[in-house]
């Protein structure tokens, strides 16, 4: 067997061995599944009947983007339950969506016969303004005295009523 063949085989074997290691690492990389994040938009707005394009166009009204940081100054930092069986519960607002309802996977699980499983959610929009949205609940979500029909910005301290529960945003 010639010297050249042996050298080629020697280096070739090392290359194949390393190729195996690299392929194995690639398998690990493609194996890093866990959660998939999908853009959902706003499903249950009052204007559900509109075609998706229209909804996407409405998705970011320009006037909301013009003055970022304006609302940051008076931004609420926590959500407080002020009436109902959970009175006194607070949840820190850190930019996450807060879901309310009787379902066990809600952020705040309401023990309230008049609340739906997935009743409402509260989330920040792009400018950090907190929005409350009714998720098609049976008895409705009230901001002050008005029943919500569209996602509505929540002013600081305004009571949000869900069944017998009242929550509000505070600094």
């Amino acid at each position: 067997m010639s010297e050249l063949t042996l050298t080629v085989m020697r280096l070739g074997f090392l290359a194949v061995l390393w190729l195996f290691v690299i392929v194995a690492v690639q398998v690990i990389r493609s194996d890093l599944f866990g959660t998939r994040v999908t853009q959902r938009g706003s499903r249950r707005t009052a204007n559900d009947a509109r075609p998706p394009q229209a909804r996407q166009n409405a998705a970011a009204p320009p006037q909301q983007r013009q003055q970022p940081g304006r609302q940051r100054r008076g931004a609420p930092t926590k959500l407080v339950v002020s009436e109902g069986s959970l009175t006194g519960t607070t949840v820190a607002l850190q930019g996450q969506t807060i879901t309310l309802g009787r379902a066990h996977d809600s952020t705040i699980v309401l023990d309230d016969d008049y609340a739906s499983s997935r009743h409402a959610r509260i989330y920040p929009d792009r400018d950090g303004q907190w929005i409350v949205e009714d998720l098609g609940s049976t008895n409705g979500t009230y901001l002050d005295r008005t029943r919500l029909t569209t996602p509505t910005p929540v002013p600081l301290g305004a009571p949000i009523r869900i069944g017998k529960t009242v929550i509000e945003l505070r600094k």
Partner: protein
């Protein structure tokens, strides 16, 4: 009105089973092994070895059976564990066969025992039994949590396995073998699995006491005196093993595994500090009076000394093999690692890797071991039950410690001990036990990666009452 887009849905992807990836990797692993076999044959005899097709067919049969069993009994298991183990086993067979061709080793065997029998066919048989073991564990063990029931039984069996070799004559200075008729068994290999089962069952119950009841002192949590009981017991046992069996490896594996699992279970760094201190004290203490351990330490400190060379030149030869391998190695079949003579294809098989594949090949082999450990740790992270988490960490920890002890001993980093490189080295007990270990890891990862069952109808699904004005 305002409709907002930065709302997202976070949902789990349907976990793919990835069995086809595993099949592809198995094919790759077997191809590499057959290539290595051809490489050795060409380098030694100048022609393709005659046993190549038999060897390849054997590997394909073993790998295929293992893969099909995983497909049937653990469909969501990790796709890498089996191919990595198969590659190591295949390469081990090639290296053992390569050392069988060595004239030096043949002459030595004929001189010492009057006859010579090649080890590679025996290792192939052991591999077949090992894969049978793997299949049996996967088929019988439907759920790893069953092992939790045998926490204390496995402790008792492990203790018996660790103590038994004391009553058998020492082989080459260390008492780690028991002989049953024609077979000699290294019970420490099996004990490591049982010990991991016991530790995970025990720590799952006791970890709160060990983690929470402690005082803070100088930035460290000091455990209460009575909580030190378990670690002191295990320490004393491992010291006893060191004294009576004069085997550093088993002792280090036993104690190191406990410290690793204690740390993982309690998240307290202080256990690692305690563990390191206690093992240092123990090792130095025993080395000061036990002659066999002393000679191992001397051979480690000064492998080229005259006194060491007269006794055994194994470590010196091994270091020379590492050196002559260089970066890219001499090529398979072209090294002189057979100069190690005794245990060249068992404890010292890494020297052959280092000489014939060089630093590049050595790193690849160590990375493959590292990947097995990584998949084990990943399994532990993904496991949903605390027992499975601890068991996966324990098994991969035992695997990692064993690799460290063997590779460190061969490279002269730590004193040499009588353990073998998993899958690569010649030895029936080692191959059998490690295939069983991989099977348990695959079982845990199958449970961990299986998509969660649909949630039971929740009690809050009842009707919402309607407010009537």
């Amino acid at each position: 009105m305002s409709v907002v887009t930065n709302t997202t849905t976070i949902g789990a992807i349907d976990a793919p089973s990835r069995r086809n990836t595993e099949l592809m990797m198995m094919g790759f692993a077997i191809a590499i092994s057959v290539f290595a076999y051809a490489n050795v044959g060409l380098a030694i005899d100048g022609k393709l070895p005659s046993g190549m097709f038999g060897y390849g067919a054997g590997l394909i049969l073993l790998g295929g059976v293992a893969h099909l069993v995983v497909r049937k009994f653990a469909p969501y298991a990790d796709p890498l564990l089996l191919p990595l183990a198969t590659l190591l086993n295949g390469l081990g067979l090639v290296l053992i066969w390569r050392l069988d061709q060595s004239q030096r080793l043949i002459q030595r065997a004929e001189y010492l025992y009057g006859e010579y029998s090649p080890d590679a066919p025996k290792q192939l048989l052991y591999s077949a039994i090992g894969v049978a073991f793997f299949v049996a564990v996967l088929v019988i063990l439907k759920d790893h949590r069953i092992l939790q029931r045998y926490t204390y039984i496995s402790m008792a069996v492990a203790l018996v396995l660790l103590i038994l070799p004391m009553f058998f004559p020492a082989v080459n200075g260390a008492k780690i073998w028991i002989s049953l008729g024609p077979f000699t068994i290294q019970p420490g290999e099996f004990a490591k699995i049982l010990i991991a089962v016991f530790f995970s069952g025990y720590l799952m119950v006791k970890r709160d006491a060990l983690a929470l009841a402690s005082r803070r002192f100088m930035g460290m949590y000091l455990p209460r005196g009575r909580d030190l009981g378990p670690i002191i017991t295990i320490w004393a046992l491992s010291i006893l093993i060191l004294v009576f069996e004069t085997d550093l490896g088993t002792s280090l594996l036993f104690f190191g595994l406990f410290v690793v699992m204690l740390y993982v279970a309690t998240e307290r760094t202080s256990w690692i500090v305690f563990g390191l201190l206690m093992s240092a004290v123990g090792a130095v203490g025993v080395a000061s009076f036990e002659p066999h351990v002393q000679s191992r330490v001397n051979a480690w400190l000064d492998p080229f000394a005259k006194a060491t060379m007269e006794q055994s030149d194994q470590i010196a030869q091994s270091l020379m093999a590492f050196g002559s391998g260089g970066t890219l190695g001499t090529g398979l079949g072209q090294g002189h690692s057979d100069l190690i003579m005794f245990a060249a294809n068992a404890d010292f098989i890494l020297s052959t890797v280092a000489e014939e594949l060089g630093l590049a090949g050595m790193m690849a082999i160590l990375l493959i071991y590292g990947l097995i450990v990584e998949r084990g740790v990943r399994t532990a992270l993904a496991a949903r039950d605390p027992f499975g988490k601890l068991l996966a960490i324990g098994l991969s920890g035992a695997f990692a410690i064993q690799i460290f002890v063997v590779a460190g001993g061969v490279m002269g980093l730590i004193p040499l001990s009588g353990m073998t490189m998993p899958f690569l080295a010649y030895g029936g007990s080692s191959v059998l036990a490690n295939w069983a270990l991989i099977a348990i890891l695959i079982r845990i990862s199958d449970t961990a990666r299986r998509p969660a069952p649909a949630p039971a109808p929740s009690p809050d699904a009842e009707m919402t009452q309607v407010v009537r004005p």
